[in-house]
Amino acid sequence: MIDEYKNIAPKGDLMLLGKLGETLRSRSFLHVNSTREGGGVAEILHRMIPILRELGIDARWEVIEGDARFFDITKKIHNALQGNEEIMTEQMWAYHGEVNERNAKKLNLEADAVLIHDPQPAALIHYRKGGIWMWRCHIDASGPHMAVWNALKRHCEKYDAAVFSVAKFARALPVEEFIIPPSIDPVSEKNRELTAGEIDEAANRFGISRDRPVLLQVSRFDRFKDPIGVIKAYRMAKKYNDCVLVLAGSPASDDPEGEAVLNEVREYASDDRDIIILLLPAFSDRDINALQRMATVVLQKSLKEGFGLTVSEAMWKEKPVLGGAVGGIPLQVVHGVNGFLVHSTEGAAFRIRQLLTNPAMAKRMGERGKEYVRTNFLITRQVRDYLSMWYAMEHRGKRVLDL
């Protein structure tokens, strides 16, 4: 499996993976999360566990079980960490603890290193049987609802280390804190190379004319992704640059406003035949891949964002990206190098015009974007970082480690 990444991932990352594999050979590394299917964490674990095993590490992945009441509670915790006002009663926390305790009795938690993903299984720390325990927070916890954070913190501060995706997502904790960004898998269905035939087939099926430049935003129909702002920017740019706009995504199933936002977008697009709104079902990875590959410019004009991995996905396909300067987007878009960070609809329109008028610049930015992703946001780098963190935790206090 590692062979699939040869000639794709940086050679140095693969060498270090090999070295870390030799050093940590036959030792056990347990991941625990709350779902086997759906969501970015499960998606990456499906790929990461076989890679770890191939490196000689005894990697396991356990999933906690809970009922609807438990997942209602953890949804509230998730939303509260992102800043929503949520009421969490002592009874709710007690139930969260009970479900964790029940899982702790069923699961084999013995391992040399244990990585617990997100708040759902965070209370498992109270049942540790040894090894190094690390809590991985995939959520932007920079501005949480404080009462909920303070309650969750009782678990987090018992760990040996915490991991956040971006420095600004992190909360101060009295434990070691690592910053490890998420990643994309270059050989997955969403990111693998496609043939010209596969791209053409998708374009025909979706009715996208490719005789003019294609602007694309892939995102849920959610106000924070600013789809109306994207249409406004497209209209401003279209005055001088004929182009088509594709808005592709699914209504946010966990967002009651999703349907309303989609209707607003449709109404705002009105009868403009050059605006194509695509509602994609779940697991449309190959279609998203094709759309990104047929695009001339990719937008992620979010007003609020998590890490925003769609940016890296587009950059991997050598597309210049216009991104809102929020969440993890500035970590991926180096302004003026591989794309542009924009702060307004007018800014987005201006940069679209710039890129459509200057294809050579767009091409150069796209090429740099792919290299930037190759160095920073591939799954091999994330595996490397997890193993490096484990190794660093076994040599706590050292700033330089020779392998």
Binding site: A170, L173, I180, L403
Partner: protein, 222 residues
Amino acid sequence: MPKSFEFKQCVTLLKSTGKKAGNLRELKDALAQVSDGAIAHHTYQYFLKGHILEYTNDFAHWAGESIEERALAERLSNIDPYAYASIQDLRRDLIGAIDDHLTAFPEPRDAMPGDEFHFNETVMLVFPAGVRARNLAEFLMAMKYAEASTLYYHFYDARVRLGNKTDDFSQWLEDGMEKPEVAARVRSIDPFMHTLETIRERIVDAVEEEVKRDMESAGVPQ
């Protein structure tokens, strides 16, 4: 038998200190408290990012871009971390520059929420790149294909390891290969005005010319 040059690579793992600053006073206070590792990360390791734009360290970058204090950004950019014998001295001058600025402009703006300065530090993992050069020609080939982190480790990080005097490449060229002129050319590359890629080009140019000269003087047809 001259000593061979072992190419190494490094990878840094980012750690958060949990400290952040939303304005210059907070930046100054935090600068006085954070670890030496955090100061080193935001100054020496700036070059590991690869895309050098207007500034030479993270503090200058934040001052210029996030709070738009251009004069301070210029002054901070002009601080040469390699000129200091210790991080303590570097820390003192960074704080001094901010102090002076606050005296002249006592009401600087705050950063926008979400755009605060976050103090980080790193753990560096160093490992062999699997390449060893026994002569100048082998060194040249290895330089052409070395990964960016190899260049960083031997060109930038070496200055800290070797007491800010030199880099691994020029030291080997001088001591191992007895090529003081090439070593001087490498040493004269301004570390602040280049990306890792343009540093590679400069070193390759310098070494390539010397290899050609050696071949000419040995009568090897080209």
